[in-house]
């Protein structure tokens, strides 16, 4: 019952947290790290590493 009351608040809070985390991650270069990994063949994924 209590969760029902706070659910919209939790949802909005999580959306804000999510957007903030994405922006912070991009700012500190994580998106570049993801790109660098994803455009090279991942040896561990295909079973060579």
């Amino acid at each position: 019952m209590l969760f029902k009351a706070v659910k919209p608040v939790v949802q909005v809070a999580l959306l804000i947290v999510g957007i903030t985390m994405v922006c912070f991650g991009v700012m500190r270069g994580e998106a570049d790290a993801v790109l660098a990994k994803a455009i090279r063949l991942c040896l561990e994924c295909i079973g060579i590493g």
């Binding site: 949802q11 998106a31 790290a33 455009i39 295909i46 079973g47």
Partner: protein
């Protein structure tokens, strides 16, 4: 929408792997789109992959010497989780779709109802193979292995190693024990998928585990109108994820496939989207229902 689920799953798989000519070239797409995570489990070593696998990306960021946590990937997963929850599993994930297709192969079908404790394995896989081990087990220069990708995930072999090794002799000759191990996992998952409904999703997948945790707070939900429900149990019977939607509409295992919506003879079950949507519309009193 649930009626067109197969088509949506096919379209989502195509959108997630749009660079099809790369299969013939034996190389992978290397454009800027690879900086963005796709919602489902889809290996970035698939020649056609349009984006990055969120589970692979998380491990590669935390396993690098520069970072020990990924705000970018976690934030992306929180956003997808709040917006869609496990709808991703039911409609958008290529590996979920593959398991469903395999399950359509005529054979004896086995129930997973008595194997419910196994559904907790996927949370351990998420915690250890994805989050902890890549950060804690590092080499001299502070880099950790992507444990889930390296030792568990069958997608890398299916989408990456197999098509690439067919077209590329260099890759073919480099495949060793690790490939054999993961090929064995892929074969086991494929065989189990014929017998059981979505065994990898239910028991192993760390991405499914994350979305499962988000199902309770997702904007997309399923609502059961208790005034209309005649307790016939048809919804629970049709559910292949072993969920009784009348009891737990936001159950972690519900992949929002919508089969229960179609099975209900009195249209008591419906998809809902929005802030504060709750799973059940309770029948406060018989009178409250009669007044409706």
């Amino acid at each position: 929408m649930a009626r067109f689920r197969g088509l949506i799953q096919a379209a989502a798989t195509l959108a997630t792997n749009i660079h099809l000519p790369n299969f013939a070239k034996g190389g992978i797409y290397q454009g800027a789109g690879k900086a963005v995570c796709v919602p489902g489990l889809n290996c970035y070593s698939c020649p056609a992959a349009s984006g990055a696998c969120p589970i692979g990306s998380f491990q590669s960021v935390v396993g690098s010497s520069k970072f020990s946590f990924s705000y970018y990937v976690t934030g992306t997963l929180i956003l997808i989780g709040v917006l869609l929850g496990r709808f991703v599993c039911g409609f958008l994930c290529p590996f979920g779709w593959l398991q469903e297709l395999l399950h359509k192969i005529p054979s004896k079908k086995l129930s997973t109802k008595k194997l419910k404790p196994l559904t907790y394995i996927k949370y351990a896989v998420l915690l250890f193979a994805v989050v902890l081990l890549p950060v804690l087990v590092v080499n001299d220069v502070g880099m950790g292995d992507p444990f889930f990708c390296k030792y568990i995930c069958p997608q890398g072999v299916l989408e990456g190693a197999i098509p690439l090794s067919i077209m590329n002799v260099g890759i073919r000759s480099a495949l060793g024990k690790l490939f054999s191990w993961k090929l064995a996992i892929l074969i086991v998952v494929a065989v189990l998928s014929v017998l059981f409904y979505r065994p990898f999703c239910k028991w192993i997948c760390p991405l499914g585990a994350f979305y499962a945790l988000m199902n309770k707070v997702s904007l997309l939900g399923i609502q059961v109108d208790q005034c209309k429900c005649v307790s016939c149990g048809k919804c629970a019977k049709v559910c292949q994820m072993d969920v009784d939607v009348t009891r737990t509409p936001d159950h972690a295992e519900c992949i929002r496939c919508g089969k229960c919506v179609g099975a209900c003879p009195v249209d008591a079950i419906s998809f809902r989207y929005g802030l504060g949507v709750t799973g059940d519309k309770p029948a406060q009193s018989t009178q409250a229902c009669e007044n409706k």
